[in-house]
């Protein structure tokens, strides 16, 4: 706060020897009023009184100023009493019933599902999905010209060429699986009972066949992902710049023999 008191500010404002507003030119007074809420309120009331002076000449001026000054202070004193009101009986129960019928706040799974549904419902979603899928395909597998081969005229030939080997392989796997599941031939008569090994039950053989097949599929998938990842890494290396040149390190010595 500045070095001037509230009383001094108010005396300066009320000084009949000065014109209205002259006090504000005094830097200390102006600084004080800027920081003192009490003086601000008092000035507001005084301004209201000054406005009353324009409309109410003569003796009414003093009464108007007093009324307004006291009025503002009284009103400001009374206003916090309006901060709370009783909403009446049953209001709390009404609110609790209204809120208990509401669903609980949604978790992230529900929000993600809702966002996905909203995304899918968008009119251009199919186009955008196709675009993104194309970009991903080009980034991962490269060879954008290959896609041109898939035209309506030669799609059959390309499909036979591309999909033929995997289909044959899948068919071979299927036949192997069927052969394993087929019932084993009955043991030859006359053979010693102890020499013939007990055949595995069909359930066990089916389980073994399934696990073998799954293992093969999984290894193929892993190989495909590894290949795709290497291609992607190569593509990024190409973007980043030339691959590093040959190493300047001297070639490693051949392994030494103990002899």
């Amino acid at each position: 706060m500045s070095g001037i008191t509230c009383d001094q500010v108010r005396m300066a404002v009320l000084d009949p020897g000065t014109r209205p507003g002259d006090w504000a030119r005094h830097p200390d007074a102006a600084a004080h009023v800027r920081q003192c809420t009490s003086c601000q309120d008092w000035l507001d009331a005084f301004t209201a009184g000054a406005q009353a002076w324009v409309s109410e000449q003569g003796d009414a001026f003093a009464a108007a100023v007093i009324a307004r000054t006291a009025g503002v202070e009284a009103v400001l004193r009374d206003l916090p009493g309006l901060a709370e009101m009783d909403p009446g009986p049953g209001f709390t129960e009404r609110v609790l019933i209204a809120t208990s019928s509401r669903p609980a706040p949604e978790g992230w799974r529900v929000r993600v599902t809702g966002a996905w549904r909203a995304l899918v419902r968008r009119p251009r979603f199919a186009w955008e999905a196709a675009y993104v899928a194309t970009v991903c395909w080009v980034l991962v597998f490269g060879n954008p010209v290959g896609a041109i081969e898939w035209s309506a005229t030669n799609i059959g030939a390309v499909a036979r060429q591309r999909l033929g080997p995997p289909v044959k392989e899948l068919r071979a796997d299927f036949e192997t699986w069927r052969a394993r599941l087929a019932p084993e031939p009955a043991p030859a008569q006359g053979a010693a009972a102890g020499a013939q090994a007990e055949p595995a039950p069909p359930v066990v053989r089916a389980w073994q066949a399934a696990t073998d097949w799954l293992r093969g599929v999984a290894s193929s998938v892993v190989e495909a992902f590894t290949l795709a990842w290497e291609r992607l890494a190569g593509w990024f290396e190409g973007l980043a710049g030339q691959p590093p040149g040959p190493s300047t390190e001297p070639p490693a010595d051949p392994a030494r023999s103990h002899q």
């Binding site: 601000q40 309120d41 507001d44 009331a45 301004t47 209201a48 009324a67 307004r68 009025g71 503002v72 009284a74 009103v75 400001l76 009374d78 206003l79 916090p80 009493g81 309006l82 901060a83 709370e84 009101m85 009783d86 909403p87 009446g88 209001f91 709390t92 009404r94 609110v95 609790l96 209204a98 809120t99 208990s100 509401r102 609980a104 706040p105």
Partner: protein, 190 residues
Amino acid sequence: MEASNLATLVERCRAGDAIAWEAFVRHVQGRMFALAYSYAGDREDARDLAQEIFVRLYEARSQWPAGDEFLPWLFRVARNRSVDFLRRRSVRRPASTVDETAIAELPDPAPGAEAQAIDADRRSLLHAALRGLSAINREIVVLRDVHGLSIQQVASILGVPLGTVKSRASRARVELTERVLALSRGQGEA
């Protein structure tokens, strides 16, 4: 209730505690109803509006801000709901006039020393004078002088510059006082 207790309630409500929610409703319903009444100007509408505010708060309880930011956020939510409510009501039917007799008969929320000093006539005068102010001036007076928010918080809630709130707050106080004096003179002559 103290601020620390309110903060505890807020934390428990955010965690989904149903008992804390009920305690929270009981704690702030007086303030929310008073705020709703300052917008709606009608007791029944104010009850509906206050309920809407609570439902909105309940739906967003996982996003409640913590600490000192909660109270301004609460008033911002209540104010936005109130503005929406008034917009809907203006389409539905014209705003009702203030029934000062009904206001004077409002039950006293806390029959204590302070409440005894503010009698029903005085409150009815203040409410009537408040309804005579322009919407922005009334909001400033209600948020600043009735609910005791800071100038910065009021400016943030209303989305207007700080200087506007300062200048309007001063003018609104004087205008409110003039209306109270005019209304009391009118009552005296009647």
